[in-house]
């Protein structure tokens, strides 16, 4: 995983973003991102030893989910704790969808 330098980046575990960039692209303020981390809805990457950067890093994978949650937060005027719960459920849905796709791929199509 690396901080991206090219004009495009995969929004998955291959790329990473800093807390301030995550805040900028997701619509949540840095303090709100911190609060989501406190609630356990977001998991920062493990700091490297010795730390290369003072700022927390997050997988770019969480950007899409955070942007979805940010839109729903505005649309339904949700508080941050509800957003944290929502992020958990969005994560579960994504995981289940991935598992369904995998199971469909593995079994013979005639079954």
């Amino acid at each position: 995983m690396s901080l991206h330098t090219s004009p495009w980046m995969w929004l998955d575990e291959r790329d990473a973003v800093t807390l301030s960039e995550l805040s900028q692209v997701s619509g949540f303020g840095p303090a709100e991102v911190d609060e989501l981390v406190e609630y356990g809805a977001l998991l920062p990457m493990q700091p490297q030893e010795p730390p290369e950067r003072p700022e927390q890093l997050f997988s770019a994978h969480c950007i899409t989910r955070l942007r979805t949650a940010s839109k729903l937060r505005i649309d339904f005027d949700l508080d941050l704790f509800t957003v944290a719960m929502l992020l958990d459920y969005l994560n579960q849905i994504e995981t289940l969808q991935r598992q369904v796709r995998a199971l469909q791929a593995h079994r013979p199509s005639s079954e």
């Binding site: 495009w8 995969w10 199509s109």
Partner: protein
């Protein structure tokens, strides 16, 4: 391709007419409703009409109306400015009176096709940013793109068209090899232009890989059905199988059972950025049988049945017996 609309900035138009909307009626609350009543009414309507939850054709428009009403009434300053406009019949065209304009100064860089929501939003900007020169980030654009499996494997160039108000915007985007279904790509700084030193927006590209008639996809791994004759499964065989880079010979080992997966290492989707190898290709074995037999085939199968010790329905013996 998703079309993105943006209003064109124009001259100050405070003297122009705007259409009155009864925001209290939209939310179904009295004019003296508390903030809590307003919030509750909005959430109820949002739950009912949100485009993610309602399939009604007018859901989006009704949700937008409710959101506009809520944005105006939840903010005490906007609500006061709205109330100062007085009550009018919904849809009536009117120009805010001079005393209203002096009491509620509005940002000069307004939109020429301003509606009531824009007017109140401009008021908010004026209060938040008196000189209207604060850096403003450009808009982010979201787009969906469907590509086929071959394009996902080899990479492709997409032409994205955004309807950006008066100026149609076309962007060529190179999708690198190894993209998989459902992946998202962020193109930094390729969205709307920022203003007053603000950064440019981004493009978020959602990739959908169309279902392939031969291969099923799981991440970078591909699966396809390999149908074998009973004797191929029993004796083993070399069979030509398809891959995304053309056919290759696959060695089927003797004694291959139905449902077994035979792997062709590195023959799946091409490696993407950050991957050291590509995915694998799996042949999922299914065994088919002939439904019509010649007399000789019938005789051979009967002979096989009489001499074979294979008992497929007998439980496996425990080890050690």
């Amino acid at each position: 391709m998703q079309r993105v609309h943006r209003r064109r900035a124009g001259p100050n138009c405070i003297g122009q007419q705007v259409k009155y909307k009864d925001y209290y009626a939209v939310l179904g609350v009295p004019h003296d409703a508390t903030l809590e009543q307003i919030r509750k009414a909005y959430r109820k309507l949002a739950r009912q009409h949100h485009p993610d939850m309602s399939k009604a054709p007018d859901a989006e428009a009704r949700f937008k109306d409710a959101a506009q009403a809520y944005a105006a009434l939840k903010d005490p300053e906007k609500r006061a400015a709205y109330d100062d406009l007085g009550r009018r019949p919904p849809g009536e065209e009117f120009a805010p009176p001079p005393q209203w304009r002096s009491a509620h100064p509005v940002d000069g860089a307004a939109f020429e096709d301003m509606d009531l929501a824009d007017l109140l939003a401009a008021l908010h900007r004026q209060q938040a940013s008196p000189r209207a020169t604060m850096p403003r980030s450009g808009r982010d654009f979201e787009a969906n793109a469907q590509i086929n499996l071959g394009e996902a494997h080899r990479g492709t160039v997409l032409s994205l068209r955004f309807d950006d108000g008066a100026d149609a915007l076309t962007l060529e985007v190179t999708v690198p090899p190894g993209v998989t279904d459902g992946q998202k790509l962020r193109l930094r700084g390729k969205g709307g232009k920022g203003s007053h030193g603000g950064i440019d927006g981004d493009i978020y590209l959602h990739i959908h890989v169309a279902a392939d008639p031969v291969f099923r996809v799981d991440g970078h791994d591909l699966y396809f059905d390999l149908t074998l004759a009973p004797w191929e499964a029993v004796l083993g065989a070399e069979i030509e199988v398809p891959t995304l880079d053309g056919p290759v010979l696959l060695g089927v080992p003797a004694g291959t059972r139905s449902g077994r997966k035979l792997r062709l290492r590195g023959r799946g989707l091409g490696k993407g950025k950050g991957h050291t190898t590509g995915g694998d290709l799996y042949a999922v074995v299914r065994i088919d049988v002939p439904t019509t037999l010649s007399a000789r085939e019938q005789a051979i199968f009967q002979e096989l049945a009489s001499i074979s010790t294979f008992r497929p329905r007998e439980p496996a013996k425990p080890k050690g017996e």
